[in-house]
Symmetry: C2
Subunit: 289 residues, 2 copies
């Protein structure tokens, strides 16, 4: 059990983490920290009202006082600034972890911002999300049965890694480890690119003259395909920018496949179109979630 846990960013991810930790009696006290903006303050007040956190910290110094676990659940572009603000107040026995959807840039940011305290940082990525954001959408069961990837480096402290791993396991997640670069390639492919494409499809149709009649006739296929286009624009902007190299490589591979399909359809090559679709169907049909 942790004595005092500071959650930076008490939205869907951070709020659900706080609720999950509370459910397993994993923390004696949970403090929430946000940005110095009216909307962020209102969100923290709501988190307090909902019982997601026990108190609100005004700044990093107050947040870190007596804290033995820091969870960063703010948009990933803020990681370096947050870690730099935390660093002076980070005691030796405190552990820092994060829930960012990209890992290579987070690791590099942590190396720069934490310096000699970098071994206390355990980079993590719980694979859970919904299209709704904000603390109102938080759920204690969000991580039940979901994967959580940790991407420790050779200089990550073993005991810090183990405590974070055991905590996520106790919260219901299925924990595994991966190299940060491999993590970023994997999620560029199966998460970041689909989000980009879903946003792009809705934005493209919206530009057309007959957008209204088109959207009015969208059915279940469109609903599910574009569900993730209702995700947080700020969060996904940050992820796309943070994971730019891997994302654009995956996008290129996708565009090559689309160009192939366009050519086959244009040529009326029914057999080849069916072969491509059948290959995709066989693979997709075999996936279990």
């Amino acid at each position: 059990m942790f004595e005092r846990v500071a959650v930076f960013g008490v939205g869907l991810i951070g709020g659900s983490f706080a609720l999950a930790l509370d459910r397993i009696n994993g923390a004696r006290r949970i403090v929430g920290v946000g940005r110095n903006s009216p909307s962020s303050r209102a969100n923290l007040e709501r988190a307090l009202q909902l019982g997601v956190i026990d108190e609100i910290a005004r700044d990093e110094e107050e947040a870190l006082r007596g804290t033995d676990l820091v969870m960063l659940a703010a948009p990933v572009q803020q990681t370096e600034a947050l870690l730099a603000a935390i660093q002076p107040h980070l005691t030796l026995h405190a552990i820092v972890t994060d829930a960012g959807s990209t890992k290579q840039n987070v690791v590099e940011a942590a190396q720069r911002a934490l310096g000699g305290k970098f071994p206390q940082f355990v980079p993590g990525h719980p694979i859970a999300g919904k299209e709704n954001s904000g603390v109102e959408a938080a759920e204690a069961t969000l991580y039940d049965g979901k994967r959580c990837i940790l991407t420790p480096l050779s200089d990550t402290a073993g005991h810090a890694f183990e405590r974070v791993r055991d905590m996520w396991t106790a919260c219901g997640a299925v924990v595994s480890s991966m190299d940060p670069a491999q993590h970023d390639r994997v999620f560029a492919s199966v998460s970041h690119l689909p989000h980009l494409l879903a946003f792009a499809l809705v934005a493209a149709i919206a530009r057309e003259d007959d957008a209204a009649v088109k959207f009015a006739h969208a059915g279940g296929g469109f609903r599910d395909f574009t569900r993730i286009a209702a995700s947080s624009p700020e969060m996904w902007r940050d992820i796309c920018l943070a994971n730019k190299p891997a994302l654009l490589r995956e996008l290129t591979a996708f565009e090559q496949e689309v160009a192939l399909l366009r050519r086959l359809i244009n040529d009326g090559d029914a057999d080849a179109v069916q072969r491509e679709f059948a290959r995709a169907r066989e693979i997709r049909g075999a996936l279990r979630f």
Copy 2:
């Protein structure tokens, strides 16, 4: 009520239609017709066992004997050959309709194949589907509350249109009318293109060296985005080829949006990326299904 209804293609769509019609006592007898292949014959036997149809017709002549409604629910590329085979046996009071996902090519096929009997044809498109195909997946409730688009022409017989419209309404569908060309633009945009893109994403990842680890880490976003990639390859091949001009136009618009997002991400233009995502989110979030 119809005396005798012949369903050509007793799969998910045709089978669900038969079950829905039976539920409302809309037909005294329902006969199923398939292709002359072992798998098609086995499917019809299964449909008979399941009570989806009352009998199996060996050919068009037998299928049309005493029949006052013909439903074409076979893959859309077969429409012209089917209508040509039906035409000689079509009595004056019989109505023909279809459930094809594209309408302009179906209307043109019907004009060629039916000639002077074209007014008896009511082109239709019930907007319902699942990723599962075949008669085993058929459900009497598939069309409940779903849209059904009819695309009659000026020479479509008014009484035929009304009977088909009233029948779909009684089966639980919400019926509306549209011009065939507009229909094809609308569904290229919100149905055919998403299917193409979902097939393409799965096929693109499958080509990569680390495909296995990527698919192993796919989460809920990927699951929903690619759900339609488990749809029937034959059916979607036919739809993509049948609606080629509209589909490729929509694909071009989509590719332009993707190219814009690629440039903005490559330039690190955070504000512009967020603006595009936020626009898509606002529209997607407001859609009701």
